[in-house]
Symmetry: C7
Subunit: 289 residues, 7 copies
């Protein structure tokens, strides 16, 4: 059997000019439960599906406030994400202390991405295994960025990451032209609708969903539990009509998670690939959410 | 035979985006004897099953006081856990010295988890092989957290970790709705009942059990030896009726220890897997308890 | 099967005196979308094709202003390039602060190349996976350099890098004698024409193209969106007549991307090479653009 | 043949959550000659069997005084033990200097164990290959601890470690209920009796035995040579009657050295296991005693 | 197939007392285009053949001025050479600043060679992949040295390095007795003639040749472009008669590049050696010139 | 063939709890020529057999004065031993400077052994390959220690180390009861007699023997060349009668060099073991004496 | 085929207690051209055979002045030797500055040897690949030492190292009894005669020989070029009669280079050994002389 010999060290290039360890870390993002972000002209909204390992545990939070003007949602290895979140909070605090002004979203995102890039170029580290959706509102207006383990970041109108996020993205692509002019409640409803497309069993409840929003005159606010109920109720009303369509989208997109096709498994034993359960069906690794 | 080539270095990602070394460290937690935590509206209780290597030795302590408002129970590699416990005590002392107030439970838990996360991202270290149940009572009320070797932490209403903990969790899941309003004695009895579900031979005695409790107006207290006897007696009264049920629970849950299914052995030789004793029956590695 | 044993560590020489890891990093440059640079006697122009991972995302920027007199376009791993860009900006700022004058282009290029060289001679690092086209205008006139992951740099009259850049280079080689005396608009049009030769499907639009220009009396200017429209319109007019020729050039050059033939795959299994998709057809690795 | 790939680096977890290198270091303890510790209400006694490589050499000391209130006996790699002993002496000296009081036994033991734990979590170190029996007498009374290479420590009423220590432990388990109320001479005699159970050829003499004792009002005292003679004589008187029993115990326990069953040899070739001499019969590695 | 196990780490000796990695780095020198040095009693001349990757690029410079009395020509990995050049310039500057005198050639050469030696004795570095011809004129007269990746240096009357340099050396060996008394123009012509012997296709032009000269009363001067034309014209006149001879020399020496026979390929598969193109015919690795 | 996978890194334990690299370093001691030490009540004597690589070289010294009261003899890698000797001299000097008294022998020996132990617990070092016989005379009387590469040390009445030392040890074991009361000349004669037992061809001469002695009122004295002649003459007289016996001893002990049986060759191919020359017959590695 | 697994890291012991990497480095010494040293009662003389890579290059110097009273000749990797030479010069300078006296030869030699020893005990270094003959004259008289890569040094009456040095040693062994009383010219002639025995083709000329001498009242002097002619002429006169004998000696000793037999090739394939050219016939590695 052919063994890929270039995919074990983060500082090793493959002959095709790829960094397999970085791509594998990006797979970790796809194993976490879905997170969705979208923006209108006035607001940016993040919505995450929170997993609970059992009914005894609370759902693990995946949405965090960084500063008054900035929040993040993450998918993948949450403990890696916490480490980046701590860094972001420090940077915002320092900037406020020195300049008496919020740190611009784009600048903070670049700093976080640079921090992630360093982890792809030192042999004793590993790339972070977490993807961040960053929502901010500053003088430049509302911004939604996606920071990826490779140290890249992208500016999005709307984006979904994590397990089964393709269905959510299909929804967003179909609807995003309505977002710019949407009011906040509609925007939240769109976010929840997209998120619900990534759920195969069960449904969105006030327990397994978090929403964060930030916008013109609205500091970053986390909606949880009771705050979510009106939005979920509004969603339920609509799903009767719209759900079939989003279910169809989910099926179309079911085989291709995330932004790009998964890199071919380097071990490439086709027989093994058949026998192995598809990533979608596998239980996630214990530490991912 | 297929060899998993991604499971030997802590800084290596597998093509599926998993960190096998971290998952293996989580297996170490499942090898330790069981620890149980649960909380009511006013109190948090930890109960551990302490192993003794022979009748000559005292039972190894697995429950520790960290500060007046906070205690921990651990399962897995106790020497790793001691190292974390020392860190927690220092943090609490420093916080009291600087702020003249107890360190909030959630904040300490996050710091410990961050410390564990670092060990998953440096090539010259290894993940800690211990799971911590942290019980604290502060302004935010009673809290029960589980800190895992991956650097993740979870907020629980009730939780059991360690060997055969599935039986204990089954008990907790069946009863947890009664906990919120339970008085302290009842809460302790529930904890012991859950713990006893994880014992296959022998029974709970004042020697092999420790209980820690903390709550409104109650600083962290360790119950050992004689202090435990009334509680054990109460338990014995009840077990006549209830024990059969918990035994049944144990059988149901017998094959699936811990929070998730054990990761497939990467060496995957099915013949070997049959021949090998199931982890449940194996004697634990000498250093685990 | 013969295994190349000299291509995994950046500090290992092959018996033929080659550094395979450095060559592999140069392959990463060829995976990014195309970037083109060209100069007249008075101006230097950079043009890049920007990829967007979906219609939800903005196109990823690949053209950056470094200082008033200097800009860069990059192809390959953008997060690596950002790290070099940050370094260049700092050097320019420091030079202005100390000498109250812009840092000469050639000198900055040498410093960046030296920085890249160090990454090819330390075992714990990896070569940068990005190629930079540097356009500057200083006392020495307009300059166009290409900085490559090996730490080499080259002075060019016109150059194209990235995926399918051979077609663009063929265009440039056919036309470059006209560049010296071209006015700025013509020069930009030549750049866009070259860039369009590297596009197989779709066409250049104001969204997927960025242009940077710098010249005598013209500080570095980025043309994006609306600013590009007149130039794209002029291009469209002309393509009717000229496009067929550039298409033909593209076909000729289709098999040989970049400045030199790709290094022979060290694993050299000819059967595998046939089966594998040609690099041109493969989707780029997720982090490259 | 199946090769265990998880047992060569101290920082590598096995898929079962074990640290094989730590377990192997614990095997080194079992290769050293036996050491026995036991305590009454008023005294703690250590007794060791000292090997001499030939009649030309003195017997190698394995019992050391650390402070007036504390002594240790060791089994395994003595040079590793000496390094720990030096550390313990320094800690005791510093504590006396700062607090003008002896360092409590339990606290010193925890510090030593923490030091051993660090060696199990750094890739450039190895676990210590020595087990320590620590006997101390302080305000908390007499204490007997066993510190193991894993960084764990255990509180014992009586304990035996080293080669053929199972026979000694069997003796201790049969008799330990008599120890609490025993006077010092009886306690020493019990210790020697246990030790003699681990001797297969030859017998205890004033040359190959050391005894250390500490207790209420008795600073740590080493009994060697002539001081031992009365105790050995008393032992000889008794052995006539009791020896047969202890010999039987030895046979029962002969196959299972130390506190737990030896970890299965990871190479697991059963044929090889038969051919190989049992560890009991093998000459010890030259540096162990 | 036999695998050479001693040729991958720079700090590993082969059983024959060779350092293969250093020898491989010396192969890199042979891949660069040719460089020639020669001296008369009054002058030292360097001539290099500069490659251009396409007609769009300028030819890459391989001749550098270090100080008024000293210049270098290089062959191999130019980015490595630039790093050494920068070091040499600093040393010369410092020496002038401290001693108000030029740094003697031999001393600078020894320092550079010592720097290269260090790279052959540290496991985290690699030997430089560049050969330097150093021409200097100081109180000791004109000097021509060759610094090699191994950290050795040699004093030469005339020398050629790089691809097909054997033909150039053959020319130099045939003529060198005429050099001592030659005037500068003749010396340059001899250098160009030698250089032309290493060219198989095309010819020397003012674009692909650089000449550096230094001598009594002549500070180091670079001849490029127009400055070279008279010398190239003189060469052209002569080649009619002499070229055939040098062509013959080239054929004789065609199989043995550089100063010594190439080390036997450590993989030693004779069949593979036949199939593989001869190093002469292979395109050079992209980063070498 | 089975490959021992635990014997290449000094920080790796074997499953049997052995450190093979340390044992291999102890083999180096057995390859050096013999060294003998013995003591009476008043004196300690060291005698070494010095090898000369040819008649052109002087014999390599293996006996060194450390201080007035202390000397050493070594066997194995002499350059390693020199490094330890330098350390010992420094320690003695510092002690004399600070305390105005000689450093007690036992304390110095422990320090040297601790230094050796560190080399067995760091992955970037290797154990010393030298054994030291340390002879000292201080307030505690005459002392003879053996320091071994494992970091262990032993107190001896008499000891021989190095190649064929078993024969010398056999002699010492037969005679050592006479040593205590022997006068100095007799003690030296016993030392030489023991040493001569380890010589298979040739005999002891004033050139190939060094003797060091220290004792009550006698500072450390080296006997070489002429000083040795009376002692060698006395030896010659006696050998007529006694030599046969020692020869016989040599034959008995011929197969088992050094203090313990050689560790089983980890490659364990019995056929290879037969074919391989016995260590006794092999020429020593060039650097050992 | 059996692979030696102990000969790749300098810090790995073989099961036989050998350090193969150190022995391989000693092979490098044997690859360099010969160097000879010898001494009379009043003088010490070094003579080296200098190789030139072609007639264009000067012969590489292998004899160096370190201080007025001390010089060295080297064989092996000259760039390693230069690094040691620089160290020796610094030590001599510092000693003269501090003590206003020359550094004693034996002391300097020990320091150099200690420096070489360190390189055999650190995993990130490699042993030096050079042998040094050190000639000094100080208060202790004339001294000739050989410093070897292992960190050992030896005191010699006369010695030859490098390729075919066995023939030279044979000459020295036959004649050395005449050296003590020889006058300087005779001593030099003996040195040259020994050196000529190591030459198989060609002969000694003023170009390929260097001689260094130091003695009572004679500071270290290098004889080169013209200074050598009378000595070479004297040699030529004598060779007519004596040459045959030295030729015979050369044949006897032809198979055994250097001070000891070459270590058995660890790969030990006897067939390969036959096929491989004898080390004598192989061209030396490019960097050795």
């Amino acid at each position: 059997m052919f063994r890929n010999q270039y995919d074990q060290d983060v500082t090793t290039w493959s002959p095709q000019g790829r960094m397999h360890q970085v791509e594998y870390a990006m797979e970790a993002v796809k194993q976490g439960s879905a997170a969705v972000g979208l923006k209108s002209d006035t607001h940016v909204v993040l919505a995450t599906l929170n997993r609970a390992s059992s009914e005894l545990s609370s759902h693990q939070r995946k949405t965090f406030k960084v500063d008054d003007h900035l929040g993040i949602a993450m998918s993948g290895i949450i403990s890696d994400g916490r480490s980046l979140c701590r860094y972001m909070r420090n940077e915002c605090l320092n900037h406020r202390y020195v300049f008496e002004a919020p740190l611009p979203t784009a600048r903070l995102v670049r700093q976080v991405a640079d921090r992630a890039q360093v982890c792809t170029q030192r042999s004793w580290k590993r790339p972070y295994g977490v993807g961040l959706l960053v929502a901010g509102f500053d003088k430049a207006g509302g911004k939604l960025f996606y920071c990826c383990p490779s140290g890249s970041y992208y500016d999005y109108k709307a984006m979904a990451i994590g397990a089964r996020s393709q269905a959510a993205k299909t929804y967003l692509e179909r609807k995003f032209e309505e977002f710019a002019s949407a009011d906040l409640d509609t925007l939240i409803r769109h976010g929840l609708q997209a998120l619900s497309a990534s759920v195969t069993d069960g449904e969105l409840t006030k327990d397994n969903v978090s929403v964060a929003l930030v916008g013109k005159g609205t500091p970053l606010t986390l909606l949880e539990d009771a705050d979510l109920e009106p939005h979920l109720a509004a969603l339920a009303d609509e799903v009767g009509g719209d759900g079939a369509g989003s279910g169809g989208a989910m099926e179309e997109g079911g085989g291709a998670d995330g932004a790009s096709a998964p890199p071919a498994a380097p071990d490439g034993a086709s027989g093994a690939a058949e026998a192995a359960p598809a990533p979608e069906d596998e239980p996630p690794a214990p530490m991912e959410t």
